[in-house]
Amino acid sequence: MALVNFSNLDFDQIKTSIKEYLRSNSNFTDYDFEGSNLSVIIDVLAYNTYISSYNANMVSNEVFIDSATLRENVVSLARNIGYVPRSRTAARANISFFVDTTALSTNPISLTLKKGVVCTTSGSFGNQSYRFNIPNDITAPVVNGIAFFDNVDVYEGVFLTSNFTVDSNNPNQRFTLNNPYTDTSLINVSVRNTSSSTVSRKYIQSKNLFDITSDSKVFFIQEIEDQRYELIFGDGIFGTKLENGNYIEVSYVSTSGVDGNGVSSFIFNGRIVDNNSRVVSTGISLITVNIASQGGQEIESVNSIKKYAPQIYSAQNRAVTASDYEAIVPLIYPEAESVSVFGGEDVVPPKYGKVFISIKPYNGPYVPDSVKDNLKAQLKKYSVAGIVTEFLDLKYIYVETDLTVYYNTNSAPSADYVKSIISSNITTYADSSELNQFGARFKYSKFLKIIDDSHVSITSNITKVIMRRDLSPLLNQFADYEICYGNAFHIKTCDGYNIKSSGFKVSGLLDTVYLGDMPNSDQKTGTIFLFKLDSPTQATIVKNNIGTIDYEKGEIKLYPINIISTLKTFQGNSIIEISTAPKSNDVIGLQDLYLQLDINNSTINMLPDVISSGADPSGSTYLVTSSYSNGTLVRS
């Protein structure tokens, strides 16, 4: 029998193969006995084969971008299809200050804030001190003895410089930045003819070969080992070729990334010189923070590279399909945690010629307007002529869960202990990437499994799912509203009150009112009415037919209504919470809806399972929990 099975990766299987071979091809017999000499030799042979197979397997895994695990290899494979992974991004703050020069003996015409450190965090910020820099000098004129430095963008990190002298005799010369954690968007490169030359030429970072000629002063970057970067200059065909003896000066920022976000108090630590290069150190005002530091990001993860590199390659720097936009937006706006894009033809009514983009940034719920304008301009380079890009503010759809968990009291230290584990597991699930993205789906069965697997004492759980959207009303003016859930509503009772809302007041009515629904006979549509509460279980309808509800589409429309106040607020804004049970317990984040599991509004009730614990094997005192109860009339 030939030794044919060489695909094994298991030591014991390899050993068995060798034994089988010996059994049919040799007159030795003792291979079956562990103490024999032959067994020792077989072990060595099998181990050698095992190591070879393992290495071959690892090597073949690392050859393909889908299966590679080492960052260096993933980056290298992405490089082959023209993708440069996003670097760590420095947090950016916007500050203003002024310098009073009236006390100076000389009367300067202008002051220059030198590149490098400008300010540091005042006191300690999370037990750390952070430095904020500018990548280039900023000069301000002195008017009436005062120089204003307004709206200066400062970037968190350590400002570093590296210099290289081009050696054409060394064909293997590399220009590598030795410090990791570089923000590549802040790399500044200038080249002088020689180190003693006083004239320098600024080089621009280029990401592709478009519009690059043999005279273009450009450089390219690529990520190398240990998250460091290498600069690559032109070859005389694409970009100017450097000459022997050229002196390259590189300044860059090595940043702490996301840790630098949220700094809102600074003290000045920069260097200011006047037009005669004299250092100015007096008359510097306190720093006003216009925008606290934000936008700091970690380097692009291996998973993200694997996801976006093929997409960017297929998009070929052109935004044509929705997935092209989804690939390109994170490239030009690294703070995007999740992006959803759909064409105008998909909306109701259709809006042809438009592309709608929703972005969930890492920090905060919405993208600032200034960033949207900038993104629009940047996307024009990629998009098809005539296509209008529109940014939609994020619309959140919240999933709330009402859990009743049965547990065996004999196996649990306490109900609170089990509850805390469940709560922790739900929080982990809520924070996972399975939910926090566009097109996410709340998977009911998986959720139940998470709860059941939380502790050995849990015997079962009854989980009711509620979906909620928050309406931000325009106060003191008539407006009509349309709230889309993207998921069909479940009609629990034909007597109405399937939707629950928080309270609000409308002009002309004294009482706090709530929204209620009444299904039509077709049970597909219905009407909305306003009611007030006489008691928690007793409602009185105060106004009928103030809107419509479509249970199939999951849509509520309110006719023009003047809302004057609400009982609930979120971050200072008045909101009306409107919730209902979904028809399917799997809730999806449709189109621009961003799905989130709302832990704060979810409840966990612990009930002892008297049957499993043996306290009441007949189940006479077993507390039954309804899976379908409609709950209270309004949201508390």
């Binding site: 030795f28 003792d30 562990e34 000499n37």
Partner: protein, 133 residues
């Protein structure tokens, strides 16, 4: 009447890797010699020494650095007996005698065993366990 198990013989390779001058084959060890070698291998193999088989071998090395007395000898005897019982199914151990040799600082081991399925007299294997480093 129960069937009597008769082995066709045992044949193992010799670790000396010497070549038979006539046939140019590697020298093989057979039957009693092969089994004696196997027993010796098992006793002198430390647990964890063989790939992916952490338990194979005996822990005699732990005991030979203990005081040379009858208690240590008894521990060694049990360890050797258990090892053979677990990993050498071809023999039936009759006795494992371990006697301390105070003068030379070693234990003299004699294993007496019967080979199962072979028509041969009971065998005896003797060696010394010394606390050499």
């Amino acid at each position: 009447m129960p069937l009597e198990r008769v082995s066709q013989g045992f044949k193992d390779i010799s670790m000396s890797f010497q070549v038979n001058p006539l046939t140019f084959d590697l020298i093989a060890t057979k039957n009693e010699t092969a089994i004696a070698r196997s027993l010796r291998n098992l006793v002198f193999t430390l647990p964890g020494e063989r790939f992916f088989n952490q338990n194979l071998g005996s822990k005699v090395s732990r005991s030979i650095f203990e005081n040379i007395d009858d208690i240590s000898a008894s521990i060694l005897s049990n360890e050797i007996r258990n090892t053979i019982k677990n990993y050498e199914p071809r023999v039936d151990v009759i006795a494992v005698d371990v006697s301390p040799n105070y003068d030379d600082g070693e234990f003299n081991v004699t294993i007496r065993y019967k080979i199962i399925g072979v028509d041969a007299l009971p065998q005896q294997l003797s060696f010394a366990l010394q606390s050499t480093r």
